[in-house]
Amino acid sequence: MNTLLSQSINLFAVVLLVLAFAMIAQRRILTLIHLFTLQGAALAAATLIVGYLTGQHHLYFSGVLTFVLKVVLIPILLHRVIRRLNVRWDVETLFNIPTTMLIGIVLVIFAFNLAAPIAGLSESVARGTLGIALACVLLSFLMMIVRAKAVPQVIGFLSMENGLFFAATAATSGMPMIVELGIAFDVLVGILILGVFMFQIREQFDSLDIRHLEKLKED
């Protein structure tokens, strides 16, 4: 039973990684939000399983928190934002998806190399997945760089937070409770502020294209 469960941690880790790749290549904003929700669900499941296997009960709480925040609250907020901004069916033109994917693969290899020596030192049941967590962080970073629209950039930001939460579970037996609560609070407030910003940007620029936000440059 326990071997099966510890295997399933690896499974969820792989799901996270695949979803991170899928998000890089996804053109439709609505599908992007669905992918993000799935990623949150995989993260919550992985956290709960690690909590069960190690007997660290505060991880249950952290898993539930992740679920409430990343599967329920934030997706609801994002859906409302895109509905009110009328970008629900928007399709973004992405250039050079194959090249981006190749860069992504290089990042994954880099992340695994960086994490390998540290993972050996960790005592967590999920230590093998630290590389995957770091890869998710770097892939979200890549996504934020290549996207030109506000909503996908914000989703990239949130998905980076997912990778970090997963790193905390994979490398350690979860950060102290109060810290996790604080981080969750910051993420929630951050997404609310970004939501407000999107409306203001739209009002000022008539578009959610971040490329309009390049006026302030050095002369």
Binding site: E161, L164, I183, F197, Q200, I201, Q204, H212, L213, K215
Partner: protein, 484 residues
């Protein structure tokens, strides 16, 4: 009653109170009053620390030691003087139609919360809470930077949010790695991220994990410090936000980020014992000083120019702490203090000058001495102080940094001297026509609050001539704590 409770609770309560108070009359006075209370509480705290020595409170969750006690007082002090300055300044902005009642409410409420979050970050003993408070301080200032809702301010705020968000995410990864090392060395649980525990057993922390953790922490908190190449948000946020916010961003938030970095450096130094963190800070600091000095000389916007000057000075402090040792650390701490005082004073003067000219472009600001002599003298003396002219405190700290650099890292001194020279020529050359020169502009409608400018400059002058013994004692103890 614990004075620390008051120090932390006053601004947080003030944020709520001013949110409820809204745009009614006397909101500006209430804001200044809350800041004065915070300052009084932190002076009380300082008196207790002077009498009884360092203290930890509430089951070691918060602590006050020589490294943070003077920063707490400095933060509360500049927070108070800035609230005094912002009262007439924001009133003029409202008369110019830039601020609506709703925005005034947001400004006052977020200003208090921002101060509160910085004080939490300074006094917390838990490195995780330190991260949370830094991020919260970022969030409050994002709203403040975009308060005018102009396209440029929205762009600046968006950049600020995204760049600092990504940056601070790196710092979170560094903190997670630190926790991993702590779990192995002193066991997990709530106590494992407490700085005092980590500092006691820093030699036990795994060097492999710590070196990687420090890279992430340096990049992460370095983004907030404004280190090149992750400094891009800083000039935009300073130039487009309201001037009181530019003053507290430059004077206080950058210091708090550097403070976070220093706390992490102590741990990494203890675990690594090969001087790698110091060398990385020397490298980043030096590049920052040089790049910022050259960008500075190309600016046309007065607030952008002084924002680059802040980047330059933060680089100089990072360089000093990278050198390490009692003298360079002492100089770095002194520089943190005088830079905060002088730079906020400059922003106060610049704010009124730009309001009067109706523009932040330096070619539009002329003849300050004729119309508002106090603004003109404030800007002139402030610029001389920040450029390191002798009687001011900046001279003392820069002199100490340079002489230590000549001994410890002689190769770096020519770069530093060239950068300081370029900055001097640029700022002095630009400020002179703004202060002297001819003008046809009318004086401001409300009398500007320039007392803070001269109080700050007076203190910076005092620190250049005489450092009180307890302050000297703290600097020495803190310098020893930072080690390196």
């Amino acid at each position: 009653m614990d004075p620390l409770v008051l120090v932390l609770a006053t601004p947080l309560l003030g944020g709520v109170l001013l949110g409820l108070w809204g745009h009614r009359e006397r909101a500006g006075e209430l804001n200044a009053g809350m800041s004065l209370l915070t300052l009084a509480a932190s002076v009380w705290l300082t008196v207790i620390v002077v009498r009884d020595g360092p203290l930890t409170v509430w089951g070691e969750w918060f602590f006050v030691d020589p490294l943070n006690v003077f920063l707490v007082t400095l933060t509360a002090f500049v927070g108070f003087t800035t609230s005094l300055f912002s009262r007439p300044y924001m009133r003029i902005e409202r008369d110019h139609g830039k601020m609506t009642p709703g925005r005034m409410r947001l400004f006052h409420s977020m200003y208090q919360l921002f101060n509160g979050m910085m004080l939490v970050a300074l006094t917390t003993n838990n490195l995780g809470i330190l991260w949370v408070a830094m991020e919260a301080a970022t969030l409050t200032t994002v709203l403040l930077v975009s308060v005018y809702r102009t396209p440029a301010s929205l762009e600046a705020a968006w950049k600020y949010f995204i760049l600092c968000g990504v940056g601070i995410a790196q710092a979170l990864f560094g903190t997670i790695l630190l926790y991993l090392a702590a779990e192995r060395a002193i066991g997990g649980g709530e106590g494992a991220l407490l700085w005092t525990h980590l500092a006691q057993s820093k030699h036990l922390l795994d060097p492999g994990i710590l070196s990687l953790a420090f890279v992430f922490l340096l990049l992460g908190y370095g983004t907030k410090v404004g280190l090149v190449p992750v400094h891009n948000w800083l000039p935009d946020a300073h130039a487009e936000g309201p001037t009181p916010i530019s003053a507290v961003l430059s004077g206080l938030l950058l210091n708090v980020a550097l403070y976070a970095l220093l706390r992490c450096k102590v741990l990494a130094d203890g675990a690594l014992a090969n001087g790698l963190p110091g060398r990385m800070m020397i490298g980043f600091g030096l590049v920052t000083v040089v790049v910022a000095a050259f960008f500075l000389s190309r600016q046309r916007d007065v607030k952008r120019m002084f924002a680059y000057s802040s980047i330059e000075h933060m680089g100089l402090m990072t360089f000093a702490f990278g050198l390490g040792g009692p003298i360079a650390n002492f100089a770095g701490l002194l520089h943190m203090t005088v830079h905060a005082l002088v730079k906020s004073a400059i922003f106060f003067a610049v704010g009124h000058a730009a309001q009067k000219a109706g523009s932040q472009a330096m070619e539009d600001i002329r003849g300050l001495l004729k119309v508002n002599p106090t603004v003109g003298w404030g800007l002139m003396l402030g610029s001389l102080a920040i450029l390191g002219m002798p009687p001011f405190g900046v001279f003392a700290s820069e002199f100490l940094i340079l002489t230590t650099a000549m001994r410890e890292a002689p190769w770096a001194t020519p770069f530093l001297l060239v950068a300081l020279g370029v900055a001097f020529a640029a700022i002095f050359g630009r400020v002179q026509p703004m202060v002297f020169g001819e003008t046809s502009l009318r004086p401001l409608a409300h009398p500007p609050a320039l007392l803070p400018v001269f109080v700050h400059l007076g203190l910076a002058l005092l620190l250049g001539l005489y450092i009180p013994p307890y302050l000297d004692g703290w600097y020495r103890q803190a310098a020893q704590m930072i080690g390196g």
